[in-house]
Amino acid sequence: MESTSTPRISAALLESYTGQNVIIVGKVLQLRGDIAFLESDGQVQANLNRDCHLMVGNGAQIIGKVNPDLTIKVLNAIDLGNNVDFQISQSVVDITHQFKDIFVYADRAGMN
């Protein structure tokens, strides 16, 4: 039992979450070495670690920390295949922020 949240966000919300761990679901646009570009209501640059096996064109979920330059330091990335409804993912991001009382614990730094 641990009351720490990893909020689900999209590219549009990156700025409000610098320094925090977040979950982003998006479509992999490009892989360049250890860097992946995801489309999630805007573009996200994710700096991967070695264990990541993403595929261009597939959906991916990345969990990581938002750097000050709004790139993501990825802690965990999973390939979601090609059957991901990104509209539902976006709805989840929306309701996460609309109903924080059931989805997000206030951050320790007092953000949000």
Partner: protein, 272 residues
């Protein structure tokens, strides 16, 4: 005024206890499962944060409540963070992005030891069906079933469903409460009763979910002139008799219903 209502509520409570059996028999004779009050064994989709935040009455023995509703059986989707096989159970730490919760799957000692190995791997999404438990000061979910999530959309689906159920209990369902309900009342008001109907709409906005439910039930019931017994209301709206009684008190206090045949039979106070 208020003292008179206080008197009502006491008699209602007393009589309700005495008649409880009668109400139950009525329900069982009709043999309909749906008409039974929603009991606290119903399965509720939740987020981990809701489990952690759930209130618990009477220290660590009482029932859990989420959004003011008793909850025992829950289902949620989370990512396996840690697997901890023990002699009698496997403990998983599941993270759904809203919090982390321990889930214990008890092992059947009669079965072969192949089962004692965890069937899941870390960083895999699973769905859990289980019962909320608390041990000491720690909460966990005693799993009945854990299944792997094979379609990622189920993760998102679950979060939306949990939000829907949360809103259902806090703001009322799509058909019965909220904006839709108010619209009905305003448009159904006709010309001369407009004022009263608007009043009702304003009241319903501020009313509790239970009161809303009961008001709308009474408003729709055909024989509302003679009134409806509190047990019938409770049965048909799926509330417990206590909840219905509380709703009745609230409605009485606002002058929206009145008692008819006896202290536990209510009818809508029509605006003339």
């Amino acid at each position: 005024m208020s003292t008179a209502y206080g008197g009502y509520s006491q008699t209602t409570y007393g009589a309700a206890g005495g008649n409880d059996g009668g109400g139950f028999f009525g329900g069982s004779q009709s043999g309909s499962q749906a008409a039974k009050p929603v009991n606290d064994e119903s399965l509720r989709p939740v987020t981990v944060k809701q489990i952690i935040d759930a209130e618990q009455a009477f220290g660590s023995d009482g029932p859990f409540r989420i959004d003011g509703v008793d909850v025992t059986q829950v289902t949620f989707v989370g990512m396996v963070r840690q697997i901890n096989p023990q002699t009698t159970n496997i403990t998983y730490r599941l993270d759904d992005g809203t919090g982390i919760m321990e889930v214990k799957q008890w092992l059947d000692p009669d079965k072969a030891d192949g089962e004692s190995r965890a069937a899941f791997t870390e960083e895999q999404y699973v769905r859990v069906w289980g019962r909320l438990k608390s041990f000491g000061n720690k909460r966990h979910v005693g799993a009945h079933v854990i299944k792997p999530v094979t379609d990622f959309n189920e993760v998102n689906y679950h979060l939306l469903e949990a939000a829907y159920v949360h809103l259902f209990f806090t703001k009322g369902g799509m058909d019965t409460g909220g904006g839709g309900g108010n619209e009905n009342f305003v448009s159904g008001g006709g010309d001369d009763s407009m004022f009263v109907e608007n009043n009702d709409a304003a009241f319903l906005k501020a009313a509790s979910v239970k009161a809303k439910k009961m008001f709308q039930y009474l408003n729709q019931s055909p024989d509302s002139n003679e009134g409806v017994n509190i047990h019938v209301i409770a049965r048909d709206t799926g509330m417990s008799v206590q909840d219905a009684t509380a709703a009745a008190e609230e409605l009485l206090g606002h002058g929206k219903v009145y008692t008819t045949l006896d202290d536990e039979t209510f009818a809508i106070l029509q605006g003339f």
